[in-house]
């Protein structure tokens, strides 16, 4: 009884902007949200953290009308609201910036902003009105964007601003952002946070979904933690710590730091000399890149996605072709033309954990024991009589790998798509690391991987380095680069923008390099 009175009392004061009551949602057998209740005060920045698949995005997609909840109800500003589709959500003053931007690439900024919010059957008046409104919003919130630029021509940072503008143009009072900093440089992320604080000062309510705990600590007023579809904790940000949040996310104490002892760096294993790549559109993706990779070191390549790191990995791995330049392994050139053979690469001692495990690392509908042998399936140990595959050995081998890498459930007959992101990545890692390569190429080792598995994967990489192997690590997560690398190269626009030692640099400096600015040149 008393709680109802409390609620009534609050209504008279300021009703919370968002009130979710008992939301449940299942996708087939998977219970994505279990009886979730959450309250966000008006004018607050509220964070939702949780591992991949914890149900954060599902919950917010329900609020935005993208999915329909199986049960539960929603109150907006204290008023019970039924949200059946995005149209209802927009009408209730909710705007959402999705993780994958919902923009039409070959439309202008202006066209994207008015799409769905046009006034009248012809476009002229809406475009004129939007142009004026955009200018006002730009001045008010540091949201400058050229209204006539095509989306495909502007950077992701600007694209994100367009998404925010779209919401504001529709008079959103509540703004939901799903993993907003995943694709931003630290500088762009700071700018975003300034915008968000600005919006908050204007009385807007903001919900931000992220898996980066530092951002939560920086920018939010309160935070909710989700784990396996349930909301485990809601707390004021200034009364918690990253360690506590991580524990609530994973359900056990997690090591946020990587255990890494100094190791003597050995002789050079691989030399990359003047490597350039021009893509099919004639754009130079990689411009005269040179570096050396030594035994016992992890060489981290930092940079915002799309600055040539992928091309670099692909050429060295024998998937992509270089336009010029060479790669030497133990002083001997390896084929970097379009005739390069990835299988020969493996014989030379180069293993590759690709950036996109779904596309390149695994065959998703195939069973684990097949996936743990792929790429090496012609090796003698996997071959049986009469040129057939030795399935018995492949299965036994897979089971052992699954045990050593703690892949759950350890059943070789399960198809790859059955596993969680972290376990899938461990399947790829088990296959590549257990070949005991001289050089391990590894791209985005922990993308879409839960915190618990991140710890394990990082430890595997460090162990390999301690065993005197050379590791080329490409990651867009600056934290990861800083934690693992013995030496850091920063790439921008296909060029190595700078080289730093992790102990002599900081995030600010690396962020500037990632944005193409040389901090030393400035002084």
């Amino acid at each position: 009884m008393s709680s109802e009175e409390n609620n009534a009392g609050r209504l008279d004061a300021v009703a919370p902007a968002i009130e979710l009551i008992g939301i449940s949602k299942a996708f087939g057998p998977v219970q994505a949200n279990k009886d979730i209740s959450m309250t966000v005060a008006k004018g607050a920045i509220h964070g939702i953290v949780g591992e991949n698949g914890a149900g954060k995005s599902t919950l917010m997609s329900i609020l935005y009308g993208f999915y329909k909840a199986d049960s539960g109800s929603v109150k907006i500003n204290g008023v019970p609201t039924t949200i059946n589709d995005s149209h209802d959500a927009i009408a209730a003053g909710i705007g959402m910036v999705h993780q994958h931007f919902m923009l039409v690439d070959n439309f202008t900024v202006l066209e994207n902003v008015i799409l769905g919010a046009e006034e009248g059957a012809t476009l002229g008046p809406s475009l004129r009105k939007a142009r004026k409104e955009l200018k006002r919003l730009a001045d008010e919130y540091e949201l400058d964007v050229d209204p006539d630029a095509l989306i495909e021509d502007i950077s992701v940072g600007f694209q994100q601003r367009v998404e925010i503008l779209k919401a504001l143009y529709r008079q959103a009072e509540i703004l939901i952002l799903d993993e907003p900093t995943g694709v931003l440089t630290p500088d762009e992320a700071d700018h975003l946070f300034r915008i968000l604080r600005n919006l908050k000062d204007q009385g807007k309510t903001i919900v931000i979904i992220t898996h980066k705990l530092r951002e939560i600590m920086d920018v939010t007023d309160s935070v909710s933690v989700m784990r396996r579809g349930e909301m485990t904790k809601t707390i004021a940000t200034n009364t918690t710590s990253p360690e506590d949040l991580a524990e609530a996310m994973v359900g056990r104490r997690v090591l946020l730091e990587v255990n890494k002892k100094p190791v003597e760096v050995g002789e050079t294993v691989m030399q990359v000399k003047g490597l350039s790549v021009t893509d099919v559109h004639g754009v130079m993706r990689l411009k005269d890149v040179s570096f050396e990779l030594k035994r016992g070191e992890i060489l981290g390549i930092a940079g915002v996605a799309g600055n040539g790191q992928s091309e670099l990995l692909e050429v060295i791995a024998g998937i992509g072709a270089a336009t010029s330049g060479e790669v030497l392994m133990h002083g001997e050139a390896i084929d970097v033309s379009k005739h390069a053979n990835a299988e020969l690469r493996r014989h030379r001692g180069i293993s590759h954990v690709p950036e996109d495990r779904h596309q390149r690392g695994l065959v998703m509908p195939f069973m684990t024991w097949e996936n743990t042998a792929f790429g090496y399936h012609n090796e003698p140990e996997y071959s049986g009589k009469f040129g057939l595959a030795n399935q018995k050995y492949m299965k036994k081998d897979a089971r052992e790998k699954m045990e050593r890498f703690d892949i759950r459930p350890p059943i070789p007959q399960l198809v790859a798509s059955h596993f969680s992101g972290g376990n899938q990545q461990k399947i790829v890692l088990a296959r590549e690391i257990e070949r005991n390569p001289d050089v391990l190429l590894i791209g985005q080792p922990t993308r879409g991987v839960d915190i618990g598995a991140i710890e394990f994967i990082h430890q595997q990489i460090v162990n390999l380095r301690d065993a005197g192997k050379a590791i080329l690590l490409v990651s867009v997560e600056l934290d990861e680069i800083q934690a693992l690398s013995d030496r850091i190269l920063v790439m921008f626009d296909g060029v190595i923008q700078g080289e730093r030692l992790p102990e002599n640099t900081n995030e600010g400096e690396l962020g500037l390099l990632m944005a193409g600015v040389d901090p030393e040149a400035k002084q």
């Binding site: 993208f66 209802d88 799409l115 012809t122 476009l123 809406s126």
Partner: protein
């Protein structure tokens, strides 16, 4: 030389316009569908049923009551046109249901529609008219007649301009003029209206449309209804507006595919589509006029001349004329990500 310009070239252009009209209408039909993100290789089939429905219903509407007709006189041709549009929309809705609602494979649905149309037209035609799948020869009132534009006769003797007006611009039937008017209309709809903006968006990124609070399904169905109407016009033109004056088995003769090639060639843009189909029309006209062509060093046989539009189709579809980037979401059923 002057003679060639005034006579041969004008004549060629005149027949190019006639040959281009069904291609143009089918091409625009495909434009609406593909811009909305639904690939449509069933243009051919829809044109074919439309041509059949037009020929059959115009014939029945114009027949005397004693032969089971409706004695509608000059209205018959319009009955035929209406039937063509309805038939074509029905086929378009089959494609819509398969590819939007059931999220099936759009290519397979298109192929099925083409085969179904090829069979059903002949089957019903034979059952109704017992003429081996053909429809009866259409008489006056049952087909579209050439329209002489105002002043065409009096301006005929003005040099060049008068010739062009009289020979090239005047003297076509109503569907030809509709076809070219629809080019302008399509441009306006596509780039200047709310519907056009949303339709282009849904072909590029249906997620953007969905999250903007607009129904992807309704938009795509609307686009496919327009596709049906335009294919209906294209098919009706073949049986009601050409010298054939009636429906004949497989009378579309691959024009739906040529229209598709023209659409790709035109990079899914309406004005460019007009020029592309006129080019195909011109090739067809040349093949028709010069049974064999003596180039001095080589004599091109008639078969080669008639194959010209098809050869160009192959060249275009093989991608020899620059990179054409189709609407990004084309061919993919829209499923909310999960």
């Amino acid at each position: 030389m002057m003679d060639f310009l005034t006579n041969d070239l004008l004549q060629l252009s005149d027949s190019a316009v006639r040959f281009a009209t069904p291609l143009l209408l089918a091409c625009l039909a495909g434009l609406y569908s593909e811009r909305a993100g639904i690939f449509d290789i069933g243009l051919e089939g829809k044109m074919l049923v439309a041509a059949f429905a037009a020929g059959a219903f115009s014939a029945i509407a114009g027949m005397p009551a004693s032969e089971g007709g409706w004695e509608m006189g000059a209205w018959s041709v319009w009955v035929g046109l209406g039937a063509a549009i309805i038939a074509s929309i029905m086929f378009s809705m089959i494609h819509a249901f398969a590819s939007i609602t059931l999220r099936g494979n759009q290519l397979i649905s298109g192929v099925a529609i083409n085969f179904f149309a090829a069979g059903i037209t002949v089957l019903i035609g034979q059952y109704w008219f017992k003429m081996g799948g053909q429809t009866p020869q259409l008489r006056e009132g049952q087909r579209f007649e050439p329209i002489t534009l105002p002043f065409a006769e009096s301006l005929k003797d003005v040099p060049v301009l008068g010739d062009i007006y009289y020979q090239l611009i005047s003297g076509h039937n109503i569907i030809v003029y509709m076809g070219f008017a629809i080019v302008a209309l399509t441009w306006w709809v596509l780039y200047r209206t709310r519907f056009g903006l949303r339709m282009r968006a849904v072909g590029e990124n249906p997620g953007a449309v969905d999250t903007a609070g607009i129904s992807v399904v309704k938009l795509r169905y609307s686009a496919l209804i327009i596709t049906g109407i335009l294919c209906g016009l294209a098919g009706a033109y073949l049986s009601l507006g050409t010298a054939a004056a009636g429906f004949g088995k497989d009378m579309t003769a691959g024009r739906g595919f040529i229209a598709l090639a023209a659409l790709i060639f035109a990079k899914w843009k309406p004005i460019t589509a007009m020029w592309a189909t006129l080019l195909f029309g011109m090739l067809e006209a040349i093949g028709n006029k010069y049974q064999t062509l003596d180039l001095g060093f080589i004599v091109l046989p008639g078969q080669f001349m008639q194959a010209l539009p098809y050869i160009l189709t192959v060249v275009i579809l093989a991608g020899f004329v620059g990179k054409a980037i189709p609407p990004k979401a084309g061919g993919e059923p829209y499923v909310k990500e999960r």
